[in-house]
Subunit: 541 residues, 2 copies
């Protein structure tokens, strides 16, 4: 039989939704489509109680969290990512044979009231059990016991199945959605900025370099001379972005208000609870003349986000989540729950105070002199706020709310920030400050940083020159290291073009998505908020 | 006067919205907050016509696109990123002095009906003009004339100000929003997958390597031995992700349905209209037993997206946009408009056909033999579909709609795909196919690729071993290059763990966001769809 094109094209059935069984495109889908039919655990648990105790046939798919075998029946806790709660299933002992923690099962049974006095109101009387994905319960790395955070970090691909981590994933998803709505309602457009860049917005010492040849680092010359070898994919060295700010500024000129949530990178070796080498940052740029316009947007955005999250059941889940330390589950749970409630209240119930850097410095010095506080590092204007200083400032000025610290010294901030005194040229005054802010959470963690940007060509050119490294030689030393770094290794001409042609006063901010989330959920280390944390010496999976 | 902490904290005024003038945090914001008050061009243009011709005072901020000076008045076109249309402003000649293309201005005046017979219905009679951001009109790289796409690519930071590119940015933003709603409504959660990874999902030859020391590539040993030097930030070589699929699979196990839009990278030197080295990809993974479940989701998602976009005015803007070739503006515009209308119709008005790879191959061979088509490369089963073959298949089978090509040979697809015949072990049958699809747009461009994933531990382990390079030695040669590459250099144990513990049948897909956008907007080269394209030899800004 000869083939003719007109015979062959086959259309799949119209009007099917992804959840309906589909007419399959060809013979390979011989498996039953019934096996994966079933509800998630949240859906089953959230069923309205039936007053008359009518039996309700139910099919649920989930993972076995624990099994408790008694003589005449087995109690199995079933969970999945839809909720951090679990569902109690009752099985005949023979049904539970071979079942273990970690097994993925489909259960068919009756959703019925539990006898009075039980922890749960409803339970599943199982009639049929199908094992979808077996698991070796002995070897399964997530047992029903206390696992240290350090241990869990070694298995990120399985850690995400723990109730806390699954909740974090859902929470992040919801944050993205709420933030997207906030920005859309306020006229911002969402962008996909570049990740491989020529510029290193904050500091050349901490960028990752990108090369195309995995073996390039093994190739060298005996005399140590430079090698323009196979790794020069882009002709010159390129970096992973440390911030999308400069690129967002380009869009801002045309679109007035722009934002993004995108990955950023720091080749930072410091091992703290707040630092990782890869994190998704929320950044926004907008036309603005006053720093307070930026600060107000930040406050408004975060409060809107929390309001949106409160309207879901995620917060309720957070405070009722069982957090285990292996000994005092309930107590730990209560402690975390009250910590979280307090934190959310501090963020939402009051306007957030602001304080200038100078005022903060005065307070720190006064505290040192009066003996009200002891610091490892003596606070000085030139050196900026150390972590211990930030904690103190946040506590004293924030009183449980976040606090904006504004107007930092120019010499410790990047070159692109607008001077507080707009007549002042870059580097001409060592006491000069810039129109910027850091937002400190009550625990002292810097969660947002923002500023007005220098929008005037002549002032910005001057700052770039003043900060620039030329031929490896550092300039006259009148500028600080951070400021100097921020203009190293960069092709700044395109950035100056933005001021050369139709510039406009503007500013913006960057928010550490995961730092905020860690604070809101009471997870102290950012390495446990990010599913696959990358930091010095570690990049699993 | 001694400082006391209780005196200093200052609260900013409550209940301010970002658009209201704010009480500024301190003395630095001395500038008038009036300068940036004003409407965008779209808002002014979209005002409902006033039947009585009542004069309406208006303040608008935008960029001068063109100026036409006549003896008694000057006609100035004002535009911004809010719309690709522009607004006509009428100035006294003395007001227009010194104004040039690219200048950002604030105009205060009366929004009034234009005299009959004019191109526009309304115009702005300017009373006051303020220059916010001057521009040297002579040097401004965007003049009112034809600029080649090649030229525009050299100035990505300014190209984004052209009406087409500004529209593309808004369109991307809207796509993100529509897709987020689609996935949320269908129970998917949105994730932030890792960018720096250990695995190279598709092919080790095309990954970018990440190192922390920009000078690491200049360091080597004379004997060529390997160097565990300063660039080993993560202890071992790490790559920029080529796909988030493997990580999404880990989440899928717990969350059933997951998706992301995130950046992916290929160190691919091929210079075509469809390839760049960095692009944002939409990826999704879900529980599924039949390939058609995945295909139906793809079709449903894209149709929902287009429906959402049609409800905005973006599509109308697209087809009325002036596209210039310097000679025949109107004609070009009409050609593109009808092309776009045709493309949208083909995507939305019919169910999409599907065809197997074998059937497509038969059709190609028949076409070759019968002389119906001439190909540079003779179609063979082992070599897969070349671009010219894809174009032909898309044309013949798609008839203006996208077409799913399914069940490709196993040996030319990655190791993780589920065999069409589920009993067949990896590599045991050279004619074996896998449960996968490519979605070809009517122009032959592959815009989505998806498959069911091998969810069974024993089959997957076998495939990994069969594909693996061990000690640099290639195995028995029974597997193809692409298949082999896909398991090189990777730590697969964590991926096998996903099958070891509670595995579930599933599948997913990846969609080239910018490829689809290029097709929908009639922009033929992906380098002109992505604002800052990165490709071999080029990474500007």
């Amino acid at each position: 039989m000869r083939w003719t094109p007109s015979r062959l094209p086959r259309c799949r059935a119209q009007n099917r939704t992804p959840t309906q069984p589909a007419r399959t495109a060809s013979s390979y889908s011989s498996a039953s489509t019934l096996a994966l039919d079933g509800q998630d655990v949240a859906t089953v648990l959230d069923r309205k109680p039936d007053q008359h105790g009518t039996l309700q046939p139910t099919r649920v798919i989930g993972t076995v969290r624990t099994i408790r075998n008694q003589k005449r029946r087995s109690f199995v806790e079933i969970g999945d990512g839809s909720t951090s709660r679990s569902l109690q299933a009752l099985l005949e002992p023979h049904q539970a044979e071979g079942l273990g923690t970690g097994t993925l099962v489909a259960l068919i049974g009756t959703w019925q009231r539990s006898p009075p006095g039980k922890e749960q109101d409803y339970e599943l009387q199982v009639e049929e059990l199908n094992v979808i994905g077996p698991a070796d319960a002995e070897k399964y790395p997530l047992q029903k016991k206390f696992h240290s955070t350090e241990y869990l970090r070694t298995i990120p691909h399985l850690r995400l199945r723990t109730p806390l981590n699954a909740l974090l994933s859902r929470l992040k998803s919801e944050c993205d959605y709420q933030l997207a709505n906030y920005f859309r309602d306020h006229g911002f457009i969402r962008l996909q900025p570049p990740i491989i860049t020529s510029s290193d917005c904050e500091g050349a010492g901490e960028v990752f370099t990108v090369s195309s040849n995995p073996d390039a680092r093994h190739i060298g010359r005996a005399d140590g001379s430079s090698l323009d070898g196979p790794d020069q994919f882009f002709r010159e060295p390129k970096y992973l972005t440390v911030s999308s700010q400069l690129h967002l500024e380009a869009y801002m000129n045309e679109h007035t208000k722009v934002w993004t949530i995108s990955p950023t990178f720091r080749a930072d070796k410091s091992d703290t609870a707040r630092h990782v080498s890869e994190f998704w940052m929320l950044e926004a740029e907008m036309r603005a003349e006053a720093l307070s316009d930026i600060m107000t947007t930040v406050e408004d955005m975060i409060k809107h986000l929390l309001e949106g999250l409160r309207a879901t059941n995620l917060v309720q889940e957070l405070v009722t989540l069982k957090r285990r330390d292996g000994v005092k589950d309930v107590e730990i749970g209560q402690q975390v729950a009250s910590l979280i409630s307090e934190r959310w209240a501090g963020l939402t119930e009051r306007p957030w105070p602001s304080v200038t850097y100078s005022e903060a410095m005065e307070a720190l010095k006064y505290a040192t002199k009066s003996g009200a506080a002891e610091f490892k590092h003596f606070p000085t204007w030139q050196r900026g706020l150390q972590a211990e200083h930030e904690r103190y400032v946040a506590k004293i000025f924030g009183q449980g709310s976040p606090v904006f610290v504004t107007e930092y010294p120019q010499l410790i901030k990047p070159f692109y920030m607008l001077p507080s005194n707009r007549e002042s040229w870059y580097g001409s005054d060592k006491r000069a400050t810039v129109a910027c802010f850091d937002l400190l959470l009550p625990d002292g963690c810097e969660v947002v940083g923002g500023s007005l940007r220098e929008h005037r060509l002549d002032y910005l050119s001057h700052a770039v020159q003043k900060c620039g490294l030329k031929d490896g030689k550092i300039d006259d030393g009148s500028v600080g290291l951070e400021a100097r770094r921020s203009s190293e290794n960069s092709n700044r001409e395109w950035y100056l073009d933005l001021r050369r042609y139709g510039s406009v006063p503007h500013g913006g901010f960057g928010m550490g998505f995961d730092r905020l989330l860690g604070y809101l959920t009471g997870v102290p280390n950012i390495k446990d908020v990010i599913t696959w944390p990358r930091y010095h010496g570690r990049c699993d999976c």
